[in-house]
């Protein structure tokens, strides 16, 4: 398997060598795949990026414990398929072509012309995405551990090497190709698992009644535990994993990469259908699973246990490829964004600008950085916390607090300027970290809601009283 992989990588590698003459052409090719993504591929990469291990391992595991209430919570992701692509929309694609932006950081640099904005953004990407990747690796390793009996550490190292080698050498093209395949595998696995569970349980009606017999809370929107799934807290997820995912740098990067408006249109349709099939199927499988395999203790082991107990070992292996694929595609695109932040945003812009012209050196640095970041993640994942979902949501919320408003306001509001963006980012991250550690449910909400609200207020207030952005920027973004 590894040989085939390496051969494929060599091909990709030599292709990019022939194409990229200069350093900056290489960066564009590496980061956005040369903006050639078609509709189906766009949908699959987006779905694979945001429906991560959270939806495949953590989410269904939690649904196993809390029943339909957790599926209900997860359905706050109904809009993600269409919402992100419609809200960033064609304007984001047009602007990123006008400014030559390959990543969200390029976009922010062109829009705010401020080193401070860029440095805060890059540091936030590096910190929160490393946390996110560690969470994904933990999830995947638990999955391998739970289904094969492999030692946790071995599973972790095996998985990490595969992902890092792949991303380091392939760049966006490699990631995109892989994501498409993985998106397809994820969809098929989900359908197989869902159908198998429903057939074995004697139909949906019987399963729901069996859940009710275990605990009536399993089929109520308030869940089984008093005071956990409260209305304000559950509704907050519409912000955290629903509307605000527009602000995830990995998602925004995908929204720069499509070929033309037709690809965007079909991407929106495919993305909506595929993400809804995956979300509903996987979470219901977790919730229904409680009637078939009782007493699984760790949430992260529910899906692997269900799969191995329902299917013939060979089929089980194929189906397990689904959640593994989900993790892999999420980690590789996040790794890509982190490497972009370090090499593209910090190194080339602030430390050694002359690197832009040196294609070979740049490529070596990129590859080496990928390996170093990979190493840090593995070290972090060596000592895993109880449930990866919380680490994952922490990383998501941290990124949203940083990026949501600078991206949206920068794109649609002429008045958005650098001091406003800095105020918004600092307020957002500060409020989020503060309430995450000291005030777990402010007003009954998830901390992300007050943090985004305050961040927006700070952004607008500061931008109103400070100097407007330069006319040059406004012309670049709004002019022809």
């Amino acid at each position: 398997m590894y040989f085939i992989g390496f051969y494929a990588l060599k091909l990709v590698n030599s292709a990019s060598l022939r194409k990229g003459g200069s350093g900056s052409a290489y960066m564009e090719e590496y980061m956005t795949g040369g903006r050639g993504t078609g509709g189906f591929v766009l949908a699959m990469t987006l779905v694979a990026t945001y429906l991560s291990a959270g939806s495949f391992i953590g989410g269904p595991g939690t649904a196993y414990t809390h029943g339909l209430a957790w599926v209900f919570l997860a359905m706050s992701q109904i809009p993600t398929g269409y919402y992100t692509l419609m809200v960033l929309g064609k304007k984001f694609a047009i602007v990123s072509r006008k400014t030559g932006a390959n990543s969200i950081s390029d976009f922010l640099r062109a829009r705010y012309e401020s080193s401070a904005v860029l440095i805060i953004a890059s540091l936030s990407i590096i910190c929160f995405l490393i946390a996110a990747m560690a969470a994904q690796l933990i999830g995947a390793s638990r999955l391998l551990q739970g289904s094969t009996g492999l030692d946790y550490t071995t599973a972790l190292i095996f998985f990490a090497i595969t992902v890092v080698v792949h991303t380091a050498i392939g760049g966006f093209r490699g990631v995109v190709f892989n994501d498409t395949l993985q998106g397809a595998v994820m969809t098929l696995s989900t359908l197989a698992l869902f159908i198998a569970i429903v057939m074995k349980g004697g139909g949906i009606g019987n399963i729901v009644q069996a859940m009710k017999a275990i605990n009536p809370g399993m089929i109520s929107p308030y869940g089984v535990k008093e005071g956990f799934m409260t209305v304000p807290w559950v509704s907050s997820f519409w912000v955290l994993v629903g509307f605000a995912v527009v602000g995830l740098p990995a998602v925004a990067q995908r929204a720069m990469s499509y070929r033309d408006s037709k690809s965007l249109h079909s991407g929106i349709i495919y993305g909506t259908i595929v993400s809804l099939v995956l979300l509903t199927g996987m979470h219901l499988a977790g919730a229904f699973g409680v009637t078939q395999v009782a007493g699984i203790k760790s949430g992260d082991l529910v899906i692997p246990t269900l799969i191995t107990s329902l299917f013939h070992p060979v089929v089980a292996g194929l189906i397990l490829a689904g959640p593994l694929a989900a993790v892999m595609s999420t980690v590789d695109s996040q790794l890509l964004v982190v490497v972009a932040a370090i090499v593209n945003d910090l190194l080339v812009n602030y430390i050694k600008p002359d690197l832009k012209a040196k294609f070979k050196t740049l490529r070596t640095i990129t590859v080496v950085t990928s390996f170093i970041v990979g190493l840090i993640i593995v070290v972090l994942a060596f000592d895993p916390p109880e449930l990866m979902v919380w680490l994952n949501l922490f990383a998501t919320a941290g990124q949203l607090s940083t990026f949501l408003w600078p991206t949206i306001l920068g794109l649609y509001w002429k008045g958005a300027n650098a001091p406003g963006a800095i105020a918004g980012m600092v307020t957002g991250i500060g409020t989020y970290l503060f309430s995450n550690y000291l005030l777990p449910r402010p007003l009954g909400l998830h901390p992300i809601v007050p943090s985004l609200a305050l961040s927006l207020l700070a952004f607008i207030a500061v931008a109103k009283v400070t100097r407007k952005p330069s006319e040059k920027v406004i012309r670049l973004f709004w002019g022809l």
Binding site: F72, P216, S220, G242, G479, L480
Partner: protein
């Protein structure tokens, strides 16, 4: 249209430059996404907490699911899919994404691209 002269086809904004004519359409398409999002949210909340709040004993069922769950999650997802297909096929427009010259922008507006 042509005799109106080129200056009238592309209007200048408060900064005194010609704004990209594609943005009007783009910004309209954003609202479709936002509105559909709000519709999904309202159905989710109304059905979930409206139908699901009574005692579990009194639940009614649709296709085996409790009614609150069927409407807020299953039916709502189907609505999202149908509405998305409708919006994309009927409301969103194909347009070039690359930077335009003034001539191309005029051409775009003349061909009805700038119509609201």
């Amino acid at each position: 249209m042509a005799e109106m002269g080129e200056r009238h086809i592309l209007e200048k904004n408060e900064y005194g430059f010609v704004e990209d004519p594609r943005y009007r359409e783009c910004e309209k398409e954003v609202w479709y996404g936002v509105l559909l999002g709000i519709v999904n949210l309202v159905i989710w909340a109304a059905a979930g907490y409206g139908l699901g709040s009574g005692p579990v004993e009194n639940y009614s069922y649709i296709m085996g699911f409790p009614a609150w769950f069927f409407v807020s999650c299953i039916a709502n997802s189907l609505l999202a899919i149908v509405a998305t297909i409708y919006i994309v096929k009927r409301k969103m427009r194909v347009m070039p994404l690359d930077p335009m010259t003034e001539e191309e922008a005029e051409e775009y507006v003349r061909n009805g691209g700038g119509k609201s």
